[in-house]
């Protein structure tokens, strides 16, 4: 086919370029701009080069928050993925139970982050919270305000409560798409319950699980609101994840340069880890 060349067609792309520029490129460039300069206020800037990046990458505070955050993501993935699969496997496939389960599962997902944080903040309080008061009434010394382990447990359980549903719904969608003939064939082939899971259900859930892991990883690695509302990053720095640390630095201390450098490093880490996850899992899949 003969192609018509008309360079004025580029104008058609203009609206989208403008939109992307204002929503992504310009804000990002502002951050890049801050990350290589220093200011003493008064809107005066000095070139700082890679100074902030070097400072960030050698700062113990940054790496502590990084490992803390990685551990958090690891823990919640290790709980939410198997738990989500387990719940999805046990959800009814037909009948009145289906809508009931789906609505119950969707509920936590509909609650805004800060509300979830507030719910658990109150729930866990030892003076008026059902959970906190109850545990202490049973003789357990639970206090998320003082004890780092209790704070971690609260934040992890809160995330599991909030987001396992997402994994469940994704897995359930994968499960119901398996034709009945597969189960019938498995019966005829004499497959055990485990074999059915291993060779039929798990392979069919593969793709949705990949999405679930990616989404949950990215989201948990960027977590801010819920732990901020519940623990504020404490006690001490024990629940200060990367985002919380970043906000402290940028807004609390107004260290715009280091905060900007940290944002960029943070962004690149998430990009890199997500890419690694994706590549590993798709390669395994295609093998």
């Amino acid at each position: 086919m003969e192609k018509t060349w008309n360079n004025r067609a580029w104008f058609m792309v203009l609206p989208v370029l403008v939109l992307v520029a204002f929503s992504a490129v310009i804000p990002l460039m502002t951050v890049v701009n801050y990350s290589v300069q220093d200011t003493f206020g008064n809107n005066e800037f000095f070139w700082a080069g890679s100074e902030w990046f070097q400072e960030m990458l050698t700062s113990a505070r940054f790496w502590e928050a990084f490992w803390r955050n990685l551990a958090f993501s690891g823990i919640i993935l290790a709980i939410e993925i198997p738990l989500g699969i387990f719940i999805a496997l046990n959800m009814p496939k037909s009948g009145w139970g289906v809508p009931v389960c789906l609505v119950l599962m969707a509920l936590p997902l509909l609650i805004p982050w800060n509300v979830v944080g507030t719910i658990w903040q109150v729930f866990g309080r030892i003076d008026i919270g059902l959970l906190g008061y109850g545990l202490n009434a049973f003789g357990l010394d639970y206090n998320y305000v003082n004890d780092p382990i209790d704070a971690w447990a609260t934040v992890v359980i809160m995330d599991v409560w909030h987001w396992t549903s997402l994994v469940v719904l994704l897995c359930y969608a994968g499960l119901v798409s398996i034709p009945d003939a597969y189960y019938q064939a498995a019966k005829i082939d004499g497959a055990s319950r485990w074999a059915v899971f291993r060779y039929i259900q798990l392979p069919k859930m593969n793709r949705v699980l990949l999405i679930a892991v990616l989404l949950r990883f990215m989201d948990s690695f960027m977590i801010y609101t819920e732990p901020f509302v519940v623990t504020g990053g404490g006690p001490g720095n024990s629940t200060t994840f990367l985002s919380i640390d970043l906000v402290k630095m940028a807004i609390g201390q107004f260290d715009l340069g280091p905060a900007a450098a940290m944002s960029i490093i943070y962004f690149l880490i998430i990009l890199l880890l997500s890419w690694v996850f994706y590549t590993v899992m798709t390669n395994y899949d295609a093998e």
Partner: protein, 361 residues
Amino acid sequence: MARIDLDHIRHAYSPNATKPEDFALKEVHHTFEDGGAYALLGPSGCGKTTLLNIISGLLHPSHGKLLFNGRDVTNLSTQERNIAQVFQFPVIYDTMTVYDNLAFPLRNRGVPESEVDRKVREIIKMIDLESWAKRRARGLTADQKQKISLGRGLVRSDVNAILFDEPLTVIDPHMKWVLRSQLKQLHRQFGYTMVYVTHDQTEALTFADRVVVMYDGQIVQIGTPAELFEKPSHTFVGYFIGSPGMNVLPVTVEGTRAKLGGQIIELPGAPAADGQGQVELGIRPEYVRVGSEGIPVQIRKVEDIGRHKVVRAAIEGKEIAAILTEDEELPANPHVRFDPAGINLYANSWRVNVAETGRRA
């Protein structure tokens, strides 16, 4: 291999079915002989898949018994019945290799690995997938996948029967033909009892020694392809088998003559008519002769389908189809004659024997 007896089997999907129309399977009492190749033929929703699933044990019949070689297996699980089934859509375990797919049913049954290897190699050769043994099964074409499903049944040396549930639906037309002849060959070579469900008459007639035609939850005729064609025992069989299907015309019978409107048709003999119910005359288009004498017809249209022409006409206000060979021409003033060899008579849709006692054929 086994003989399969269906002993007054009925099935309803709702637990408290009483009326006949509640039953997906009205009453089936029939024997599939050991080593026979049977086709269950019928339109969608006639109960053929229900019947197949009852044989395989995926469904438990509401009434009746199922026997394999005389042993009651009605309450046995699918696994204990030891049957193989090939489904409409190919079922393969796509994370496994072709080899592992075939080994799966044996490994599940705890067969020693040396025996597994021997059987799998034998079957993989039989289904012609040797070069694919170490490949993942997911990259295969639909017909290769369907061969694997079949192979998973064949590896178990002791299967009682192999059941097919419309297995060629998703296969390309020319591969259908290839697979069907391979199945035939397997059957001849190893003598499996095979039951093949289909709604495609060509498939049924070419695959099976005996075709079981089902309609509305019951078996309406069991016979060889020739019997189904020459002597359909129910007007449905006449209509369902053949292309176009049998012409069915309402008539009244007096002695050896049938009256169609104002026209007289000579019958080959006198039916033992009980004079009850609705009487119809069935004649296949192949036996309707178009010429310049006989009963006048009005031609509606002529469909040229290559090797012959199908003439659609009206006789006494009723639709009729006739077949003309490629070189025959339509006369200017068309009439039709009915070849007595092709005339069947039906009372209340069931065939009555002409010149014999009036019982169902």
